[in-house]
Assembly symmetry: C2
């Protein structure tokens, strides 16, 4: 294939959603990790459920609602200022350490983000991280009012970049997103940050697990959806070699 | 309202999906609980993801795929016979202890199941549990090739029973299902088997949780989807009084 554009998922792929754990732990000592995991799992669920119910709300709303859920189900009371301070971290998520160098190395192709995030969230995130210097486009699914993995969401790549699916490499660490992109007809590189072997070792006992282990078990292993990504890589930094060889 | 028909969700509402834990624990000692929880969480995710991707597969397939996922991510090897033996339990799930008496007490209304399960699975389950004696209809969403909470799934109630949404009481313990039914326009009774207070007490520490606690946190608290069920009850046995008062 000729890769003319490389399109990245944002949350969990370029940006580390686990990086909210510092602020949740600081705000609610002892609960940082479990808040972070329940928040992320419900955030994704709500994006799928609202899409299915035909009750779209933008990702900013969904992110607030899923945080509210996490705090409520843990019995953690809070005021508006505390809530907003945690939410603000979502506009300042940490980049994965290899994100900047990888994007810079790929600069001879068209580079974009396609994300469930609302335009406001994504633009702030990209500006705050400095990625606006290397990206050609930041595409929010907001225009379609359907979250990934609905095909309408992926159709925005061709609409916005003018690059047909056959010339696009889509990169995501989210298994469901890699499958959705594959189902749509994109070439897909899935970032497998936790191997099955490492995962199995973490789950040697079932009576207790850490919330992060449960999250990894639920969200970081390739899903059984009858779809297989074209490439499995271990980190963003594996991409330049893969692209050069394609 | 005049309640002419009472329609029940099956998995988690009439039938205890946690009752697979005995066979998973017997088969993989020490792993029974975590297999059960990952299996159920992924089963639901796959129903939503496949609906969104436009890649419908029936619930029997999804149930197999989610079990395969759970075993793989825990590093548990198995042969076909073992796998099939665990799967077979899904056709023999335990009824909640108050299910039979509740349905019998409500027998003067039309009684039905509306479930994500495939027709084959549901018919076997209903027959094996003896519920066929009290139910007027067992409706699978299979005919629509869209899982709940998509509106097409709930539209089957009127299609099959001839009862308009205004005359239906829909009963589910699954928060996302209660919300989906409410969004569609049904009157909804949500069974809150775990109160927020009990949940918060279980999650007093975030460094370790049991898989079952994580499941309850993710799946048994009312979701933040901008929808509120008409009734909150604590058990199926609360229904006859609620229906009599309506």
């Amino acid at each position: 294939m000729t890769i003319k554009a490389i399109v990245f998922d944002a949350y969990g792929t370029l940006f580390d959603v686990q990086s909210v754990a510092a602020i949740t732990e600081e705000t609610f000592p002892g609960y940082g990790d479990i808040i972070t995991q329940i928040w992320r799992i419900k955030q994704l669920e709500y994006s799928w459920l609202r899409s299915l119910m035909g009750r779209y709300a933008d990702f900013s709303t969904i992110t607030r609602e899923s945080l509210a859920y996490a705090l409520r189900c843990l019995g953690l009371t809070h005021d508006v200022a505390t809530f907003d301070r945690i939410m603000a971290k979502y506009l300042h998520l940490d980049l994965y350490p290899d994100a900047n160098a990888t994007l810079t190395a790929l600069k001879d192709r068209k580079l974009a983000i396609l994300s469930n995030g609302s335009s406001d969230m994504l633009n702030a995130l990209v500006r705050n991280s400095g990625l606006d210097r290397v990206l050609d486009a930041t595409i929010s699914i907001d225009a379609k009012r359907m979250f990934k993995p609905h095909p309408d969401a992926y159709s925005l790549i061709e609409e916005r970049l003018g690059t047909p699916p056959a010339d696009v490499l889509f990169v995501s660490s989210n298994p469901w997103d890699a499958c959705g992109a594959k189902a749509y007809g994109l070439t897909v590189a899935w970032i497998e940050r936790v191997t099955p072997e490492a995962m199995a070792l973490e789950c040697v006992k079932s009576d207790v697990v850490t919330p992060l282990t449960m999250f990894k078990a639920l969200r970081m292993q390739m899903d059984e959806l009858g779809l297989v990504p074209d490439h499995r890589i271990r980190a963003l930094s594996d991409l330049p070699k893969l692209v050069a060889a394609s």
